[in-house]
Amino acid sequence: MGLRRELCRGCTHCIRVCPTEAIRVRKGKAEVMPHRCIQCGECIRVCPWEAWAAQADSPSRIRERDGYAWALLDPAVFGQFGNLTSPSEVIQAFGDVGFSSVKEMEEGLGIYGRVVSNFLSSGGVVLPAISSDCPAVVQLVQVKFPSLIENLVPIIPPYEIMASRLKKEVLENSILTLYYVVPCLAKAQAAIAPLSSQGKFTGAIPLADLYNPLKAALRPKNMGNPLPASGPNYSFGLQWAFPGGESKALGMQASLIVDGIHQVAGILELAENGLLGEVPFIEAWSCPGGCLGGSLNVQNPFWARFHLESWMRSYPSSPERSACRVNSPEKDRYRLDQPWTPRAGMRLDEDLKVAMEKLRGIDEVVKKLPGIDCGSCGCPNCLALAEDVVQGYASEKECVYVLKGMKVNRSKGKERVQRWKR
């Protein structure tokens, strides 16, 4: 997550949408608290000035590595080019932006699906199991719902499976580089800082940065340097790009499918209180519309889904059942050896006594604030300002009401109770 400071106007759009309240505007510019950021990309989506940028590689890097750059395409890529362009044509067009070979995710998704199904049908799974496919959802659990970490499915994600396989195939040749073409920030981050040692990419490139040259190459007779036609053989991998696709590919009888990070947080809240009853599996996506809704994509996610679904109809859905059986080396190889750890994103202090004092301090400060959550102080709401005051990051005087000594307008009789919404 990077801010292009010169573009930021300190407008406070981003601080309000952040699901972990990780952003503040200080001295007229936005700032991220890295220990809270979950890479969901909500700030990118909402910023009117395009000041937030993904920390990813620029396409010019590919040209420098001319002829030796490989790309792995996220399924969401295929939804971006309209229903007149087939997935295999999209793959061919990547030759024109400097890649020497392109893979799609079908193989990795197939393996992932088998290993996850196998895991879910084994004993001792903590229910509801939560899909760990979306890296932003995993980080949300680590920061805000640490008690649900044991519910995350401990299998390394499909793109890392692909990276490890491609490395074995070709990357022993040290000249070659492997890039992941990503729809979102979280996957870009996951590509360079993977969970498993084998899953590392050379870098990640946002689809949006390649869109124009690809679109140009895809015009009739325009392709200068087409790659050999290849592409997915089945539709199960493509449907992974939108909500419900994963559950379908896993053959889940029942699953709770949720998209959009705030809705995901709502569901996890229920799960944490044990209110989800018999739900066996939660398929959760940070972006509205699943990966097609990724903040580094180009098309409207629903329009993209329409394109993708029209292509999916021309493929058989999935390989024969017999080819789906998981073998035991596979099962173990892709099991996550080190489970996720909680991140202390919401904690006020390491020392419980100090944290208690700070909590009391916040209750005192918040009484002086107007409770209108205007955002002028640069915090998402009054409670967050109170928290920052107690932590020593801000002063009460940042509040225009406090500064001007204005009367706080409270409803008669009962004081408005300030509550943490996030």
Binding site: V126, L127, K144, P146, S147, L148, I149, E269, E272, N273, G274, L275, P342, A344, M346, R347, L348, D349, E350, L352, A355, M356, K358, L359, R360, R419, W420
Partner: protein, 144 residues
């Protein structure tokens, strides 16, 4: 004291708000995830009991030495037979409450299950005081 919350009887729309806030406060304190989950689950059940049966009530939550203590006072009908009320599946909730999906007779047993110590004092037609504790250093693993 970690927090104090007023609860109105019959206010089903706000069911869960107090325990949600309790959970958020415990997270701010950085307590172990398992402790937070247990306190929040038990507090939610207690909050619902007040909403279903009582006119009004107060939840107070504090940190006492090495445990989280929650105390719920309510003004309401009281519990005539506490032993009976502790039985799983036993409930006196009216049908409209069941229609809302609450009152399945699991409230008190669930509080007991999620806490390390629990006590009920009740006076019929006056009200009930429920207290429960969760020990910080005793991390029981419990299946949901």
């Amino acid at each position: 004291m970690i927090g104090e919350f007023e609860i109105q009887g019959q206010d089903f729309k706000k069911a869960g708000e107090a325990s949600f806030e309790i959970k958020n406060r415990l997270k701010r304190l950085g307590l172990p995830p398992d402790i937070i989950r247990r306190v929040a689950t038990a507090a939610y059940e207690a909050e619902l009991n007040v909403i279903i049966y009582a006119q009004k009530g107060t939840i107070r939550i504090c940190l006492e030495g090495q445990c989280v203590e929650v105390k719920i006072d309510d003004v309401g009908p009281g519990i005539p037979d506490i032993q009976l009320a502790m039985q799983e599946g036993y409930t006196t909730s009216p049908p409209y409450v069941k229609q809302l999906g609450y009152g399945s007779g699991m409230g008190l047993p669930n509080i007991k299950k999620n806490s390390d110590w629990m006590e009920i004092q009740s006076e019929v037609n006056r009200g009930t005081t429920l207290r429960f504790k969760v020990n910080l250093n005793e991390q029981k693993k419990k299946k949901r």
